[in-house]
């Protein structure tokens, strides 16, 4: 796994899509909820991330699930296998980094 960082916003978007496909606003709300309201993706950050993830084909646009977003105005996105791998890779990279930090800094506590 190369040591290329995935921008946090893109990582968070990938994570938000792991369970179910979501539209943009729902992704933002998901991130907001999971961080206890700490991380709010701005409109440009959110859609910029979506654009780049789409370009890399880590996510794809899918039809809205039945009963949701039937107005056709909202576009839903789902994680692709490549996207899932990228998220996993990033998680491994971050874990290694944290382990290293813990060893070097002598921190023992686990979150």
């Amino acid at each position: 796994m190369p040591d290329a960082t995935l921008p946090p916003a893109e990582f968070r978007v990938l994570l938000a899509l792991v369970r179910t496909p979501k539209h943009g606003h729902a992704i933002k709300l998901d991130v907001l909820e999971r961080t206890g309201g700490r991380v709010e993706l701005g409109p440009g950050t959110l859609y910029g991330a979506l654009k780049r993830l789409l370009q890399r084909e880590w996510i794809v646009e899918v039809d809205p699930p039945a009963g949701e977003g039937g107005d056709g105005r909202r576009r839903f996105y789902a994680l692709t296998p490549e996207g899932r791998r990228a998220a996993e890779g990033e998680a491994v990279r971050l874990r290694e980094l944290v382990d290293l930090a813990n060893r070097e800094l002598g921190a023992t506590g686990r979150p």
């Binding site: 606003h25 709010e40 701005g42 409109p43 440009g44 859609y47 654009k51």
Partner: protein, 870 residues
């Protein structure tokens, strides 16, 4: 501008593909943040947007460069090289970016104006179908009805007119600009209320409850956007009613047709059986063409209709009927604005052309200076196209930086012009960040390419060996020198055009200002008063209100004279009546003469400072019911109607030969229509004849201007809470009448000075560069005994051909500029040898000064130094 609108505008700064895909969702997202986030949310949104902007453009640029880098030889590498080079030479970079910024900014702004007035489509359904049925003519109810029934080219016709109402909603009453219109207007425009319902014909019937529809703005400002207002009866007075029920609110994006200041609408009946029916001509006739019908195709039918109307009525003048033609609604009012707009655009284009030439010159000089660098690169195997690519990538970077600065300049200009000439900027503001921005970006690229083309060809065409061996002492190639001189000459020529235009406009302004207005444009206080409908419903009440207000103002301590008038001088606005002057024979088939009139109360003529030539002013003794009313006429009226005799004691006759207006005095002509408009015969008539509800007060006080508070107190002693608006002094609004011309002078002056400055820099550059390149040659000449004067003279002589070429371009351009300005000029010829001569002389002086500085340096060259420097 609301934050939402700003945000929507700023989205245009994003790459188009990104905006198209995500723009709507981003707006919705921002909307959510605004609703949940408050103040912090706004700042956050801006920061987020700025970051996105940078990131997306970098993405975009990266992709574009990867695509380009194959063919042109200008990959990321050459951009990086260029960027480094530009940072190393900040002087050069700043000079170019500022020059381009000025040019692009001026163009962005000018295009924004043109876009706003000439290119923008009307915000209605199928706007091309909307026509002014007969724009020169006010419509009566009967005419609107007739247009609806008889004009088969129209789907529907509506009438609309302005009204000033008074709103009493907590606190003092305020003036409300309203439109009265036939009940089908919104339907015709394809507009629907946001809340409530549209008018129905029943709303305008006699006995129906008076109703009104509010603008979103008034609803928000006065009623706190409370939906409960719907169905409420509010005190909105005027036009015979005091209270009206609110039946609807229009959406915020509904643009009122004709007049953006409208705040409320009221309905007008079209039923001839209705007691409110009258035959007065007070509306603008608006129609919607049938699908597929064109304005031109509709014209014959409209003309035949106008002729039929004219046959049954003596209201219409034959020449007006002959000229009758429909006009597409989008064209209305554009004609007046076209000259200043095109002038602004021309001035901006001029600046950009000169800026372009200047940048080309700067880049050329720089390229020549880097010949050695290029040669080394070439010798090391870097292709010629790569050298050209380097120049292009450099100018492209400069162009982009310039366009960024240009947007700032455009916004600044918009601010300035909104202060100097509010009429020129639409109230909604300019959409500078929309289409104009795209134009600016296009201009930047174009400018960069144009400015880069000469230098790029130059550097691509050099033979490395020759250039390297040449070194510093080498002569410039003839082609390059010629290019440089041509550019400088072009700048000087364009500068001449700018200066000539400035001179013409300034002289025109001076002659406008020198026109005798016929009154005293002094420090008199003036303001507008509307008699409130709730306290003064009938004509008699309005008449009494202004009589009492006049006395109250006159009795205020310190007031010398005071009175009211229906329209202030210089404001324009024709109120014409047909007059039958006593003793005047109207030949068979001729139309009786027309007189423009102003309604006044006693004291107005003295207060505004009109000069009495004969008889007396109008006093309280003339403000009485009698066999005939009393009035004062202007010199033009007196001389036209009663040549060679005194007009005092003569009368205008009513049909049947009874005098209805007896002349008690003659005053000097007054420029009622503006300084440059031909004088028409005019009469000043007592207000009681047609008691207008809205009048302008003019108060002349001892020792300057009466404080507005005291005037307000006087008016409110007659009726509490009367709104007072448009407060100014007479001299101020006379100044305002000259403002459009002043703005043109300002624009031309800016354009002229900038081009002159750039032209001077160009000349300086040519000569200075020549001198520095030939230091050795000059040194040799000095060593061989050429005197300093001689060298100075020969160096100055190089300016000659440039000046001659520039002069020719300038004189020809000035001729065209004069033609273009002709309609705006007053009291000056469009092509004036004196102005042109003066401009050429000025130019010569500037060019020679610019050449003098480097030439003197050349003359002082120390031979030893010069020879050793190699």
């Amino acid at each position: 501008m609301t934050f939402r609108r700003l945000y929507a505008l700023l989205l245009y700064l994003l790459p188009a593909a990104f905006r198209r895909r995500f723009g709507r969702e981003m707006r919705e997202e921002a909307e959510w943040v605004l609703r949940h986030g408050g103040r912090e949310g706004r700042a956050g949104l801006m920061v987020d947007l700025a970051r996105t902007w940078v990131r997306e453009w970098m993405d975009e640029a990266g992709a574009a460069l990867r695509a380009l880098s194959g063919g042109m030889g200008m990959g990321m590498g050459s951009f990086r090289t260029s960027l480094r080079g530009l940072v190393r030479t900040p002087g050069f970079t700043v000079a170019v970016v500022v020059t381009l910024g000025l040019g692009i900014g001026a163009n962005t702004f000018a295009f924004g104006l043109v876009d706003a007035f000439l290119l923008r489509t009307l915000p209605y359904d199928q706007p091309d179908e909307l026509v002014a049925i007969w724009p020169d003519q006010l419509f009566s109810r009967e005419m609107v009805r007739s247009a609806q029934e008889e004009l088969s080219g129209l789907q529907d016709a509506a009438g609309v007119s302005a009204a000033l109402l008074t709103l009493q909603e907590g606190g003092d009453p305020v003036e409300v600009f309203a439109q009265e219109h036939t009940t089908n207007l919104f339907g015709l425009l394809g507009a629907r209320p946001l809340l409530g319902r549209d008018f129905t014909p029943a709303d305008a019937e006699a006995g129906a409850e008076p109703v009104t529809i509010l603008t979103h703005e008034l609803w928000t400002a006065r009623f706190g956007a409370d939906p409960e207002v719907l169905g409420r009866v509010i005190e909105l007075g005027g036009e015979g009613h005091v209270r009206r029920r609110v039946i609807g609110v229009m959406p915020s994006d509904h643009a009122p047709i004709r007049g953006s200041r409208v705040e409320a609408w009221t309905p007008v009946t079209l039923d001839p059986a209705d007691p409110d029916w009258d035959d007065s001509y007070f509306m603008t006739g608006l129609g919607r063409l049938r699908p597929g019908q064109t304005v031109a195709g509709f014209q014959p039918e409209q003309k035949a209709w106008a002729q039929r109307l004219a046959e049954g009525s003596d209201w219409f003048a034959d020449e007006e009927v002959a000229r009758a033609r429909p006009v597409g609604w989008a064209e209305l009012g554009v004609a007046d604005r076209r000259p200043p707009l095109l002038m602004a655009l021309a001035a901006a284009a001029l600046i950009l052309l000169v800026a372009c030439a200047n940048v080309a010159n700067l880049v050329l000089a720089r390229t020549i200076g880097r010949e050695r660098e290029f040669s080394v690169r070439a010798a090391l195997g870097s292709g010629r196209s790569r050298a050209a690519g380097l120049v292009f990538s450099e100018t492209l970077l400069l162009g982009l930086a310039g366009s960024l600065l240009g947007v700032g300049v455009a916004l600044l200009l918009e601010n300035r012009v909104a202060v100097i000439a509010p009429d020129l900027v639409p109230e909604s503001g300019l959409d500078v960040l929309g289409r104009p921005l795209i134009v600016a970006a296009g201009l930047a690229v174009l400018t960069a390419l144009l400015a880069g083309i000469g230098p790029a060809l130059h550097s691509a065409g050099r033979d490395p060996a020759e250039a390297m061996s040449g070194g510093r002492g080498a002569q410039l190639s003839r082609g390059t020198r010629r290019l440089q001189s041509t550019l400088a000459a072009g700048q000087l020529g364009l500068a001449t055009v700018g200066i000539v235009a400035t001179l013409l406009l300034a002289r025109s302004l001076a002659s406008l200002a020198a026109v005798d207005p016929g009154f005293e444009a002094g420090e008199q206080l003036t303001f507008r008063v509307t008699a409130p409908a709730f306290s003064h419903p009938e004509d008699e009440d309005v008449e009494r209100f202004f009589r009492e207000a006049t006395v109250a103002l006159q009795e205020t301590p310190g007031v010398r004279n005071a009175g009211f008038v229906s329209r202030r001088p210089m404001m324009g606005g024709l109120s014409r009546i047909t007059a039958f002057p006593e003793g005047w024979e109207v030949a068979e088939g001729d139309r009786p003469p027309e007189v423009t009139h102003r309604l006044v109360t006693p004291g107005y003529l003295e207060a505004i400072g009109m000069r009495l030539l004969d008889g007396s002013y109008l006093g309280p003794e003339h403000d009485v019911e009698g066999a005939a009313d009393f009035g004062v006429v202007t010199r033009t009226a007196a001389e036209r109607f009663w040549p060679g005799e005194s007009a005092v004691g003569k009368s205008f006759l009513a049909p049947g030969g009874v005098p209805w207006l007896t002349i008690v005095g003659v005053v000097e002509d007054v420029r009622e229509q503006g300084p440059a408009v031909e004088l028409l015969p005019a009469a000043y008539i007592m207000h009681r004849n047609w008691p207008w509800r809205t009048m302008f007060a003019v108060v002349e006080a001892e020792g300057g201007t009466l404080p507005i508070g005291e005037a307000e107190a006087a008016i409110r002693s007659v009726q509490a809470g009367v709104p007072v608006a448009r407060v100014s002094t007479v001299s101020t609004f006379v100044e305002n009448a000259l403002r459009p011309t002043r703005l043109l002078v300002y624009l031309a002056l800016v354009a002229g000075s900038v081009t002159l400055l750039l032209g001077a820099l160009g000349v300086y550059g040519v000569v200075a560069y020549g001198v520095s390149r030939r230091t050795r040659e000059l040194g040799v000449r000095a060593a061989l005994g050429a005197g300093a004067t001689r060298i100075l003279r020969s160096e100055l002589g190089r300016v000659g051909p440039i000046l001659a070429m520039g002069g020719v371009v300038g004189v020809v351009g000035a001729w065209f500029a004069g033609r273009g300005l002709e309609s705006t000029l007053f009291g000056v010829d469009a092509f004036e040898p004196i102005s042109v001569g003066a401009a050429v002389l000025l130019l010569a002086a500037v060019a020679i000064t610019a050449a003098w500085i480097p030439a003197r340096r050349a003359a002082r060259v120390d031979p030893v130094e010069a020879l050793r420097s190699e």
